[in-house]
């Protein structure tokens, strides 16, 4: 069962056909030109912690330049799936995978894949803001410097551009040399987004980016995601159903490691095809 988040092909459909289809969006959302091609493709993709199968045989296309939300109860494998995409799971020795996960048609877990290069193209923002104990400038410049940019002027440009994209420039432009740990939680999280953007990734993975933030900071991050939509392929794990419906074009619902339903967000929330999805989004369990 191959799932493509599509108006006409829903999770319950048995057909595995992947023809090009119209992209279903809620009326107020714009269709992104040049977007909508499969960017990350999972084929019978499973993730294990030792013997334990945390993510079970997922088949799904993540569409480029759109925002895809991942929802599901705690422990259902959302983070595991997300972290598999930029191979952050490599840090856990017991973790291994079966099946295939493709990025632009290349196997992420292929024998000759350079995970360092991969992570440069697939950036990640974590649940808890994790700026380095360095200055704001050095935080943003960290990635570009790694990748060989040492020219002071060029770095300054990158820092400013990234901070502007992350809607943080106005708040910190006068204290770039101050330690990043002195920023508020919300600012730190946007700094982390800016730091990720500075290496110019194609995909942005966000694992519950607002769960440690207050509503105001959360709103800013959500606005930011709207800003970035169309420029990056964005995947966001969230426990907040409103957030998922506000920011995402497509939504994946995981339950106990199984991708139960994957559909356009509006459709999944208004007209879920699966009983389990309905129970979850109506709050019958969590």
């Amino acid at each position: 069962m191959h799932m493509t988040a599509d108006a006409r092909e829903v999770s319950t459909s048995a057909s595995g056909a992947t023809a090009t289809r119209d992209i279903y969006l809620p009326s107020e959302r714009k269709i992104i030109s040049g977007g909508g091609t499969p960017h990350v493709v999972a084929k019978d993709f499973s993730i294990y912690y030792g013997e334990f199968e945390a993510v079970k045989k997922v088949n799904a296309d993540i569409l480029s330049k759109y925002v895809t939300a991942i929802i599901g109860p705690s422990g259902c494998g959302k983070s595991t799936y997300l972290r598999a995409i930029n191979r952050m799971n490599d840090l856990i020795p017991s973790c291994h995978t079966t099946g295939a996960l493709l990025f632009d048609g290349e196997d992420i877990y292929g024998k000759f894949t350079d995970e360092v290069l991969l992570r440069k193209k697939i950036g990640m923002v974590f649940q808890k803001p994790n700026p380095f104990p360095k200055s704001i400038f050095d935080n943003i410049a960290y990635g570009p410097r790694l990748h060989g940019i040492n020219d002071k002027k060029q770095l300054s440009e990158i820092v400013e551009r990234s901070l502007r994209k992350a809607a943080l420039w106005d708040e910190v432009s006068d204290r770039l040399d101050k330690n990043a740990l002195g920023l508020s939680g919300g600012q730190q999280q946007r700094l982390c987004v800016a730091r990720t953007l500075a290496v110019e990734p194609e995909i942005l993975l966000l694992d519950e980016p607002t769960s440690a933030l207050d509503p105001k900071a959360t709103a800013k991050i959500e606005d930011l995601i709207q800003e970035l939509r169309g420029s990056y392929t964005i995947m966001i794990v969230t426990h907040n159903m409103q957030q998922a419906s506000r920011v995402s074009d497509y939504t994946m619902f995981f339950y106990e490691g199984v991708l139960v339903e994957y559909a356009p967000t509006a459709q999944l929330f208004t007209n879920p095809k699966d009983r389990m999805t309905e129970d979850y989004i109506t709050g019958r369990f969590s």
């Binding site: 360092v116 290069l117 950036g123 974590f126 380095f132 990635g143 101050k178 330690n179 990720t196």
Partner: protein
Amino acid sequence: MNLGTRKILDRSFTAVGFGSIAVMGIALLIVLVPIITNGVGSVFFTGTLEHRKMLFNEFGRGNTEELVKENAVSEVYRQQIYGMLSAFESELETMDAEKKQDYLSKYGPVKTALQTLIGPLPGEAEAILTRYKYGQTRWGKAEEKLHEFLYETKWDFSNPDAMSKEYFVSRATEFEGTSLVKLFPFVEEHLEDVLRPEFTVYWGFLTDSSVDSHIFGGIWPEIQGTFFLAVGAMLFAFPLGVIAAVYFTEYAREGFFNSILRSANSTLAGVPSIVFGLFGLAFFINTLKVSESKSVLAGSLTLAIMILPTIIRAAEEAILSVPKTYKEASLSLGSTKWNTIMTVILPAALPGIITGGVISLGRAAGETAPIIFTAAVSVGSAIGLADVFSSPTPALSWNIYNLASEHEAAAEIRHVQYGMVLSLVSIVLLLNLSAILLRARISKKLKG
């Protein structure tokens, strides 16, 4: 347990805890106060003219004119003393043989005691050892020696059941009826005129070489040797230790080999230091032949092996305490593992690593056993930096031991020993203090 008993238990525990800390504090005070007061006395003391003469002759220090003037004043009294001696010696010639023999046997010790007190007497062959060329250089010591000059120490063995008792006999009474009897009150009265005590600040104690194996002079060779040995040990152990810690924490896979390495490291940390000393001799000098015999290099290597486990452990702890999120952040930006370690993990772990390093440095500076066979000599001059590969060196820790136990004139130069102890304690405390400050500074920088 009811509330009452719980409170009593809490309170008694507080009392016990507080009590033990207080006992420790007092013990520390009891140890430190004499070290500090006596140690300070090696630099600040009441020095005599003999001390100033010694400085002038051995180190070329002092004002010639003034010294000549002072010496002239002193000489006036000296001449009178010498006069009394020669008068008595002439008197001896007039006595019958038996009486003369009797007086001669008593006169010898008097001359020796006088010589110890004010320096060489006229008509004697020039002393070979520097220590016999001068009288007492410190007024405190001179007063002790004056007593020895005035009174003969005797032991009372009359009671066979008890320890023998010390008692003093005035020498003057023994020369009753001779011309020498005037000498004793004269010396007692005019010792200050002869030795001319004056408050002295002798910083040279820290920067001078020793003269005649620490009888005079300073402890610079020891201080420098300690510095060379400790820094040398650090040069080897610190990079190695940090690399090993990085390996253990970031690269080693959990397994049999790794757990063996870890327990070997823990065991090494508990090995007595004398074993390292012997190992150093057997391995670095006899087997590897890093130097022909004792050398700073061999000593540093031995100390390095000794402190390595501590450095590894401290660095490991520091690295493990770096939040995992830093590592994740760095890797997710496309950093290599090596880069992550160098640019994120090690900088964040630096305060802990430095603390461990400096504490080890203090330990390397203070240890005696590892350098006995590999690097330390009891007397020697300061060595040049180029000689560290081949020359042994004096060092504070070893020389403190040596002065306390093996030195032939240990009792005469306690102040030197205290000076060394205070220097060593200060060096170690200073190192630890700088570690604390450095740590605080880096932590502050990291916290923003």
